[in-house]
């Protein structure tokens, strides 16, 4: 165990954990916006897959990372239109429609990959960018300030989303639509419009999550997300629908995963326990979820389509 507690190993482990947490954080932040307005989107994973493929394909063809990220976000936005149309306008049962979106993303991203790419080829991933001065801080600099730009963006979005939700009129309308849509409607708030906007934003975030995952891996593969989108939905519950809580859950999941890998590579976890240890991130997060979920209440109108009274 002593070899784990060295500056170099701790730095690389925490840095890896933060990078692993980023797709979860982006997707869960977007899902938080939707759920606070009353819309649960179980299609996040499918949207991430489609966005990851779009990012991959554009990067492969153009070698332009920024354009590739925009393609991923655009794909998320497009799927947001589909999701909002089905869940908000058509008022479908949100769980079922979300699963439909997920299955569509899973199958269609693979279909596109097989038809448009075929043999997998790697793309050029963006380099890590150190923040001047901060990245020179011993140990902490390497942990936190020498990451991919998308990692910084994800963590910067946490206070932004928190501010929007808690300190703006738009945030108030979101919360009203999620807690008591009838009351919000009576005060002149267009519940449908608010929910459309949060679903579009949330799906765009999911697209960005897919893009960040793809750029981390540098290649696309069928079911690349490995259900990360579903974990992101669970992390919204873990985080009690608060951006800071969602960030804590994402970091917990990412860091536990990175620590387990490091312990394996150092021989701290014996081979006989390797497979059991691989389940640790999920087990710890579920246990934490069970503990946290008892203390907070979900938005009252979550998952309920809103129909104005006659």
């Amino acid at each position: 165990m002593s070899q784990f507690f060295t500056a170099a190993v701790l730095t690389s482990t925490v840095a890896a954990g933060i990078a692993l947490a980023t797709p979860f954080l982006l997707a869960a932040l977007g899902e938080t916006l939707g759920q606070r307005s009353g819309v649960i989107n179980l299609g996040v994973d499918g949207i991430m897959l489609l966005a990851a493929f779009a990012t991959y394909y554009v990067a492969l063809r153009t070698d332009d990372v920024l354009l590739a990220i925009l393609a991923g976000m655009g794909t998320g936005l497009l799927m947001g239109v589909v999701t909002a149309a089905v869940s908000v306008t058509l008022k479908a049962e949100q769980g079922i429609s979300g699963i439909g979106v997920y299955l569509f993303g899973l199958g269609f991203s693979d279909l596109l990959f097989q038809k448009l790419v075929g043999t997998p080829l790697p793309i050029t991933t963006p380099p890590q960018v150190g923040i001047p001065l901060l990245d020179q801080i011993p140990v902490l600099g390497g942990m936190f300030f020498d990451q991919s730009p998308l990692v910084y963006l994800a963590f910067l979005l946490v206070p932004v989303v928190a501010f929007v939700l808690n300190h703006t009129t738009y945030g108030l309308k979101i919360r009203a639509a999620g807690e008591n849509p009838a009351a919000a409607d009576s005060l002149g708030v267009s519940v449908a419009r608010i929910r459309w906007s949060t679903v579009l934003l949330g799906c765009t975030f999911a697209g960005l999550a897919g893009a960040s995952l793809l750029l981390y891996d540098g290649i696309f593969q069928v079911n690349l997300t490995q259900s990360e989108g579903f974990i992101a939905v669970a992390l919204v519950y873990f985080g009690a629908w608060r951006p800071s809580g969602v960030m804590a859950g994402s970091l917990l999941y990412g860091l536990v995963g990175a620590i387990i890998l490091t312990w394996k590579s150092l021989g701290i976890i014996p081979l006989s326990g390797s497979d059991l240890a691989a389940t640790a991130p999920a087990v710890i997060t579920v246990l934490a979820l069970l503990f946290v979920a008892r203390r907070f209440r979900q938005p009252a109108a979550l998952g309920k389509p809103y129909e104005r009274e006659a």
Binding site: V9, L90, F104, G218, S265, A278
Partner: protein, 368 residues
């Protein structure tokens, strides 16, 4: 009060159904995705270069004679595989083998790839068996229990599965396996000679089957060159999680590893790390040169074609199972393919050649 939403439910359900239908358009159904029939006059080879394990007892000459008599008949072969046909690893090795022999052996081939979910794969295997396929290949050790249940229900259908050593004593199940530890041993020795930090990064999925054999062989080979070298494998727990493989590779690199290897479909993530950090990479199952043209040192290639030829010959001779086959460096079922794009030092190449010859001749014992 909210009104019932039945009026809106139908279009919503239709929209969802459309999405689901579109999602099902990938290659998960058991429809043939590739098939070809060779001219009826093309006769199969009378024998292959692969020697069966002791369990295989059918006289080759009799089987060959029988096969010659029936080769005009198209043999329907189905492949069910866990990952994509172009995964540059386990599945692709079998797909390429089938493609290489289907014309010569007059095969009609159907492939269902991406069958990670065993319960779904079981339905696909059953579907092929009930559709009259002569041979259903379940290409993954996770499909064993499925075959054990299905084989007695379809006594006229031949099944093959691997990598595994057991036919479950069923007369219509063939098993095949790979001595991947042999190629692993050669590549491990090369890795130890290339490493300056004396830390190797070895990534596997789950410690079973040919993955464990390869990993164990790699570390044994490395330690045969330098007993003090660090070769601690990481098993991620997943065959398909690219991010975990990438993170494991990055973890190794940050812990001073300067040569990497791995086995499973998800190695593409780790190869990306080798490429980004310009580190040597050793591949297995299939060539991975296209992913890192200047970093892949060599790849251990599985060539299942000789085994498939043997199985098909047996089936045409009337024997539907009961034999186990093994690919090795010695019988040509495994080869080490060196990448000309990697500048391999002459002494390392010479060591590899020496070990390959030693293993082939039985002079070098590779630990199991």
């Amino acid at each position: 009060m909210q009104r019932p939403v039945h009026r809106r439910a139908l279009p919503a359900l239709l929209a969802v159904a459309a999405l689901v239908a579109a999602a099902c358009g990938s290659s998960s159904s058991p429809a043939p995705v590739s098939s070809a029939a060779a001219p009826a006059s093309v006769a199969p080879a009378a024998s292959s270069s692969v020697t069966p394990a002791p369990a295989a007892t059918a006289p080759a000459s009799a089987a060959a004679a029988a096969s010659g008599a029936t080769s005009a008949t198209t043999l329907k072969v189905a492949l069910v595989a866990p990952s994509a046909v172009n995964d540059l690893a386990f599945t692709q090795s079998m797909v390429e083998a089938l493609n290489s022999i289907k014309a010569r052996y007059n095969l009609q081939v159907a492939i269902s790839d991406n069958q990670f979910v065993v319960s779904t794969a079981a339905n696909v295997i059953r579907s092929y068996a009930s559709q009259g396929y002569n041979l259903v290949i379940a290409h993954g050790s996770q499909y064993g229990s499925t075959l054990q249940q299905l084989a007695p229900q379809f006594p006229n259908v031949s099944f093959a599965w691997g990598t595994a050593g057991s036919t479950f004593n069923q007369p219509n199940i063939f098993a095949y396996q790979a001595n991947s530890n042999e190629g692993g041993y050669v590549q491990g020795a090369m890795a130890a000679m290339l490493s300056t930090s004396k830390v190797l990064g070895v990534i596997g999925p789950i410690a079973v089957g040919d993955a464990k054999l390869y990993v164990d062989g790699f570390c044994a080979g490395a330690k045969s060159v330098d007993p003090t070298i660090s070769c601690i494998p990481v098993y991620t727990g997943s065959f398909s999680d690219v991010s975990l493989f990438a993170t494991a590779a990055k973890t190794f690199v940050s812990n001073k590893a300067d040569v990497l290897t791995g086995t499973a479909q998800a190695v593409v993530g780790a190869i990306g790390v080798a490429r980004a950090d310009n580190l040597p990479w050793f591949g297995t199952q299939w060539t991975q040169v296209s992913l890192a043209p200047h970093n892949v040192v060599s790849s251990q290639i599985y060539n299942w074609a000789p085994i498939l030829e043997q199985i098909i010959t047996e089936i045409r001779g009337g024997k539907l199972g009961g034999a186990t086959y093994t690919v090795t460096l010695g019988n040509g079922g495994e080869t080490i393919q060196f990448n000309s794009g990697f500048n391999l030092p002459a002494n390392v190449k010479a060591k590899a050649d020496e070990l390959i010859k030693g293993i082939t001749d039985g002079l070098v014992n590779v630990p199991q």
